[in-house]
Amino acid sequence: MNITNSKYEEALARYTKKIADAATEEMVLNMGPQHPSTHGVLRLELITDGEIVKEVIPHIGYLHRCFEKHAESLSYQQTIPFTDRMDYLASMNNSHVWVMGVEKMLGIDKDIPKRVEYIRVLVCELNRIASHLIAIGTYGIDIGAFTPFLWCFRDREHIMGMLEWASGSRMLYNYIWVGGLFYDLPVGFEERCREFVNYFRPKLDELNGLLTNNQIFIQRTANVGVLPLDVAINYGCSGPMLRGSGLKWDLRRIDGYSAYPEIDFEIPVGKGEMGTLGDCWDRYKVRIDEIEQSLRIIEQCLDRLQKELKRTPDFDPRALMPKKLTPKPQDYYIRGEGAKGELGFYFIHQKNKEYDKEGKERFLDTEIPYRVKSRGPSFCNLSVLPAISKGVMIADLIAIIGSIDFVLGEVDR
């Protein structure tokens, strides 16, 4: 045996033995990577005893695209499109956090014009609604309700259309740039956005009637997959997962970044209304309530964008953009509230060491980070799955997976 990987080989042997042993008494069932209810390419190996799941072993990495390796060879600006592809359902939120981190390192985070900050918050919240609509719609499909899925996608389409109008792309926007934005909002965007809010509010009530308070849906999700608060914290869960367990923890409020401190919104938490605190229904309900809060945030942004921060002909969203993105050598961890939870980037920036002709070493500024680590919220949220799905029925496992709402692009990065 190769010495290098001895500990790895041991772990692998333990795992292989576990699967082999399970094959005699219990049954090993492969769910995924092409299973519709795993929401992407996630493979779950289930050790089952009849209908009861005894153990879940997640296998991830099918969508690994070497984000961190790419980031080590591209400049900060060039990496923004790569961050879009992490959580591809909420690209704006990803690039927002990335850009905030870079701005903080450059020391220009206080100089960003208010209009730019409000536009950023506006598009991020629109994107958050789109992401939650997918979570809710696909959750309905997992449980067996088809209509909510179609309704959610119909409403999401309006958001996609608006964001395409602003950025030129439907899902992967590359809209928020370091020091500003790609472009100002198109003329008429604010009015169109307000129309959407007015259109969408009643639709949310319809959705509540169709799914949230649906007795069949409650039967399938209440008291299922209960995630106690201490387990959630210990596993590093964040976002709706953590709030579903009853903790008011929202980085938009805690860190108060961008324009959020000036905006009034509530932080919805799970209350255990239909069953136990922290069950699937609570997590689902937190998302519904968050959509409502996002609508409130959007309205407040629009109010300000149409009044004191009105569009002016000479407004240039790229005015503050540095010609060269060369921060001082430092390391910095930025975190922000993505649609799924705490999204973090850890930057290490150093100067490039080079040798001139005489062999003397010199240090040059560089635009490329030395090391980037990304902490995807879905990554940590998914890691709690084996802990909360011991002894559940296979059908309930589907409900649990859906309620976690992970995006594999972010788990694997």
Partner: protein
């Protein structure tokens, strides 16, 4: 508790030699801790009612370059009750020999969140975590050779299982 208070608290509890150094020049101050005592420090920070660092935000394995030959792990802790943050760093020199990987204690017994993060750090930077319950690869295929996020990593062969790599 401020950064200095936390430092004093750890020194009082474990002795001077546990803090190897500190970085206070950047935006986020960091404590450099003796690698062998990281589990004790984390456990104390998590359970002490004055700090309650109960949330592991991020864990990153870092290769500090081919000239320094140093490997490290960076922990970003957050306290939910106090809304504070703390960065801990541990590092060790290593010869980069593939038969002698750097090894650090695993903190997955303190924070379950470290489980997957450490598996990722192992496969990407080639750092062992002693006492980790299940140190298999996470994102890469089981037969992957080399550690991609090391600074001296190069793709040796042009073929992967008969498929040409451009």
């Amino acid at each position: 508790m401020s950064f200095e208070e936390i430092k004093t608290m750890i020194v009082n509890k474990f002795g001077e030699e546990i803090i190897v150094g500190e970085e206070t020049t950047g935006l986020q101050p960091a404590l450099l801790v003796d690698p062998n005592r990281i589990v004790d420090v984390c456990l104390e920070l998590k359970n002490n009612p004055q700090t309650y660092f109960d949330f592991l935000s991020c864990l990153s394995g870092v290769d500090y370059g081919t000239e320094e030959n140093r490997f490290g792990v960076v922990y970003h802790l957050a306290s939910i009750p106090y809304q504070t943050r703390l960065t801990l760093k541990i590092s060790k020199e290593n010869s980069r020999d593939e038969n002698d990987l750097p090894s650090f204690p695993s903190i997955s017994s303190v924070y379950q969140a470290a489980d997957w993060h450490e598996r990722e750090a192992y496969e990407m930077t080639g750092i062992y975590f002693d006492g980790h319950p299940d140190l298999r690869r996470l994102l890469l295929p089981d037969d992957w050779e080399g550690f991609p996020l090391r600074k001296d990593y190069t793709t040796v062969d042009k073929y992967y299982k008969g498929i040409k790599i451009d």
